[in-house]
């Protein structure tokens, strides 16, 4: 890959000129023929089941969940839901399936197909009869599970786009770490201002020294060379402190009207850099949050599947206690 071995890591200017596929919309869908086939088949089963369910409710002899038709719906629905649960999990874990590119995506498509169609069949199985607690709870669990799957699938589309947006904020246009770039700029500002303050200090000190009258030196000389022998003696000459009060000197602390009195005036641009740093930190926190949402929603979906499986088993046990004695009679 010769293009990758260039001296510059990433040529942003050249990248802007490309004419390929661009943009990353928040909502998008790719309907391949295989996906359309699955959607069509699922709709066909769901609509056919609904039509027959309505017809049987009006004209049938026993439109109840434990009738023959109701049990057929139940068996089909349970089989579909089992396939939804097992097919994708087994496909992910099997080594053979991974030898085909797109095989797992296809399995995920069938997982959604069986889940949605199975829920519809189980719903028809109830025939509008929600009296048994176990069956109603199992149905509620299935509805919640399918809704969580749909939400999860939507999050899988939306969240990575939001992550890309936040990650884009954390990188410079050249693709380098923005925090590092800001830190370098801050460091440059601090160094620049330190030199400036040093310059101010040394210039003021030198000017003070040059502007100091000769009497200071003479007073100093007098004080050090000719100290009074009598402790009660008070000199009438001005002390060095008094002299410095009267002399002309440069003030480092500006007055209130000076533009230098504004906060950050000695570090121009530092406030903006600090704000940019905080913005990048917020972006990184949001990126991490979006990743947590994706991950924990998947865990929530799996936990909900386990709870629903428990509710379905509870309902199957209840149904078996009703159906098995009828069969023996």
């Amino acid at each position: 890959m010769p293009a990758l071995r260039s001296s510059s890591p990433y040529d942003y200017a050249a990248d802007r000129e490309w004419a390929g596929t661009r943009g990353y919309p928040l909502f998008f869908a790719y309907l391949k023929p295989r996906n359309l086939l699955r959607i069509g088949l699922g709709l066909l089963i769901a609509v056919a089941g609904l039509v027959f369910c309505i017809w049987y409710s009006r004209n049938g002899s026993d439109p109840t969940p434990d009738s023959l038709v109701g049990l057929i719906y139940a068996v089909l629905g349970t089989a579909f839901l089992l396939l939804a649960g097992l097919l994708y999990s087994l496909h992910r874990r099997s080594r053979k399936s991974k030898k085909v590119i797109g095989g797992l995506r296809s399995a995920l498509g069938w997982h959604m197909f069986f889940g949605l169609t199975g829920l519809a069949l189980i719903f028809y199985h109830s025939f509008g009869n929600f009296n048994p607690r176990s069956g109603t709870y199992a149905l509620y669990g299935l509805i919640a599970l399918v809704i969580s799957g749909i939400i999860g699938r939507s999050l899988d589309r939306i969240m990575p786009r939001l992550i890309a947006k936040e990650a884009s904020k954390a990188l410079t246009q050249d693709g380098e770490d923005r925090i590092e770039a800001i830190s370098q700029q801050l460091q440059a500002i601090v160094e620049h201002n330190t030199q400036r303050v040093r310059g101010l200090t040394s210039s003021s000190a030198s000017s003070a020294v040059s502007a100091a009258p000769e009497r200071v030196r003479s007073a100093g000389r007098g004080r050090t060379l000719h100290g009074p022998w009598d402790l009660a003696y008070l000199t009438l000459e001005e002390t060095p402190q008094e002299l410095s009060r009267y002399e002309q000197s440069y003030r480092l602390v500006p007055d209130r009207k000076s533009p230098l009195s504004r906060p950050g005036a000695l570090l121009p641009g530092a406030q903006e850099q600090m704000a940019a740093l905080q913005a990048v930190e917020h972006a990184m926190r949001r990126e991490q949050f979006y990743r947590y949402v994706i991950r924990y929603w998947r865990i929530f979906h799996i936990l909900l599947a386990l709870v629903t499986a428990g509710l379905v088993i509870w309902h199957l046990e209840y149904a078996a206690s009703l159906v098995i004695p009828t069969l023996f009679h």
């Binding site: 890959m1 990433y10 596929t21 990353y24 590119i101 995506r105 884009s168 380098e176």
Partner: protein, 97 residues
Amino acid sequence: MRNPVLLHKTASQVQQELEACIGCNECLLACPALDEPLTIDVLNRETFGGPISAPVARFARSCYQCGACVPPCPVGLHRDAMMMWLKIRLYRSGEED
């Protein structure tokens, strides 16, 4: 399950990872988001810079950063971070337009 971490990498890090890729296709075979045949050399070439073809763009948008591509890599690369770089490029191109 490993903890989620900040997965975006800098351009130089992505470049290093792309150069280290041996092209074994294991990441693509383990990917549950890839819906069409795609070769690793095309993906690597278009990941870092230059025009992005429609299949690679579709794949980049479909990738949901599950990390299933990381464990199978025999040289320990992070294909999810490379895909994030591709996503960032697509996102920025959309912002410019």
